[in-house]
């Protein structure tokens, strides 16, 4: 009896507040927009019967999404932004993780804490901090003008460049930590062996270090790519009107246009796009766990 309650309480909670809401999103994505409260039709009622209700649903919203270039562009540019910023995070994060793993042992806990600390600080504030740096009269432009590198201020805020910077900055700990934990376990004598056998330092790095930290690289890349794809705060604060990201489109469809069926359809497709990387990620994690055992 006690075991039953232990299983049932969290189970029912998640069913009611996680699974059922998705079924509702799916249902509304198949409904039509209506000038009513709530603004969609049909609404379910037991009087008409389940079948009559199901017959009223259609794929109109999805056809509409497929025909409207805005949504295609938004999906493609989210994918592009997520991919490029994942690559940039890897390029910036790897040397940091590498240096942390090479640092004297007594420094490492402090370095770890310095990487984790920003993660505990508000995401919103970390994105906001860049607004003052990247704006026309911001600190970066002031600095570059002062050094004489540029003659007039650059426009960075409200462009895709600012979005890349924002994503790299906020998601960096997710990239560094898995790579660091892979590199920390790396046996230094393997690199020495490679060098003894005639590898140059660079060759040893490419042939030994990189392959042995592959799992960390893969895990870190997924941890950045998956949330970056549905990101809303960064494009809406740092991006411009031409930075299309699907999370922002969904938000505007819902809050500005009040088109709930289309917003739901956007959500369903975003989820379908995410299923592939999520499944790949889980597979990779599982493989890694099995390899460790």
């Amino acid at each position: 009896m006690r075991r039953f309650a232990l299983i049932a309480i969290p189970y029912v909670w998640l069913l009611a507040l996680f699974l059922v809401p998705f079924v509702i999103v799916l249902k509304i994505s198949l409904s039509d927009i209506a000038l009513a409260i709530p603004p969609y039709t049909p609404t379910f009622s037991w009087d008409d019967g389940v079948w009559a209700f199901l017959k009223q649903l259609d794929f109109e919203n999805f056809t509409w999404l497929a025909q409207d270039a805005l949504y295609w562009k938004a999906y493609l540019s989210s994918l592009k932004i997520a991919l490029i910023s994942t690559a940039l995070t890897l390029i910036v994060g790897y040397p940091i993780a590498y240096a942390m793993a090479r640092a004297p042992e007594e420094w490492r806990p402090t370095l770890m804490m310095l990487i984790i600390l920003p993660f505990w600080t508000s995401f919103l504030i970390r994105v906001y901090a860049w607004m003052g740096i990247l704006s026309q009269e911001g600190f970066l432009n002031q600095f570059l003008l002062w050094t004489g590198l540029i003659g007039e201020p650059l426009t960075i805020l409200n462009t895709s460049t600012a979005v890349y910077i924002g994503i790299v900055y906020t998601y960096m700990p997710f990239m560094i930590l898995p790579i660091y934990s892979a590199l920390e376990r790396l046996d230094g004598s393997l690199i020495e062996a490679a060098e003894d056998l005639g590898c140059s330092r660079a060759q040893a790095f490419w042939l030994v270090t990189i392959p042995l930290s592959k799992n960390g690289i893969i895990a870190g890349s997924f941890l950045v790519f998956i949330p970056a794809l549905g990101e809303f705060v960064i494009p809406s604060l740092l991006g411009g009107s031409d930075t299309l990201m699907i999370g922002k489109v969904l938000w505007e469809e819902f809050f500005s246009n009040r088109d709930w069926p289309v917003a739901s359809a956007v959500a369903v497709i975003l989820l379908l796009i995410l299923v592939v990387p999520i499944v790949l990620f889980q597979r990779n994690q599982q493989k890694q766990q099995e390899a460790e055992q």
């Binding site: 507040l17 040397p95 240096a99 640092a103 906001y128 003052g132 911001g138 959500a267």
Partner: protein, 272 residues
Amino acid sequence: MNRLSWFNTVSLTLGFAFLYIPMIILIIFSFNESKLVTVWAGFSTKWYGELINNEAFLNAAWVTLKVAVFSSTIATVLGTMAAYVLVRGGRFLGRTLFSGMIYAPLVMPEVITGLSLLLLFIGIGLDRGVLTIVLAHTTFSMCYVSVVVSSRLVTFDRSLEEAALDLGCSPAQAFRLVTLPIIAPAVISGWLLAFTLSLDDLVIASFTSGPSATTLPIKIFSAVRLGVSPEINALSTIMIAIVTIGVITASLVTKQSRVRAQRDEQAAARAQ
């Protein structure tokens, strides 16, 4: 071998500069006299003063704190139960679905979670306010708690529990007297994680809150959309200070307890 090459030193320096300079600038300019955030006009704490007198911010902070305390506490109870079920529950009907529902919210885009919960609340006719935000935050943060606690439960030596049962404890007593004290650090860090996630959340709260309940992130977001403001800098500085003190205290406490545990072990070894 343990000396850093110049390349490593440079990457560490640049990396940490990149991570910390934006926040340091933010903190410095919260003490700026001028309303213009990018021009230094002398030291002043006037923005902190304005913040204390800004009733809208104070109300939002109070709502946020209430939501965070309630949601993280409920999430810790539910998440610990879920972790226990996943690690110790054995087989039961729908176990795969259950573990799927624990892991899915971790990777779900916030816009989708927020939208779906809002549609549920409207569907069942629940008025949006503090209650709906608490329900929403509890749902996603219990999954984080459950991941943290189950990773501790996996490495837990089960024979300790069995010994308690053999010595006459009821299963509930064994849990309270043996299991809970051992997994307590994981439960506490789960609670802290849930608490910060709730404090920090903008997207899900925006979908599930009503006009009667505005949280601090919602308030900050609508203010910064109009541009950088010194008042928000002051607020950010306070929040950064609280987090920094909290994290440093927590790490010192864990370090101390680890040292104590080591000393106890050594003493026990000597006694033998």
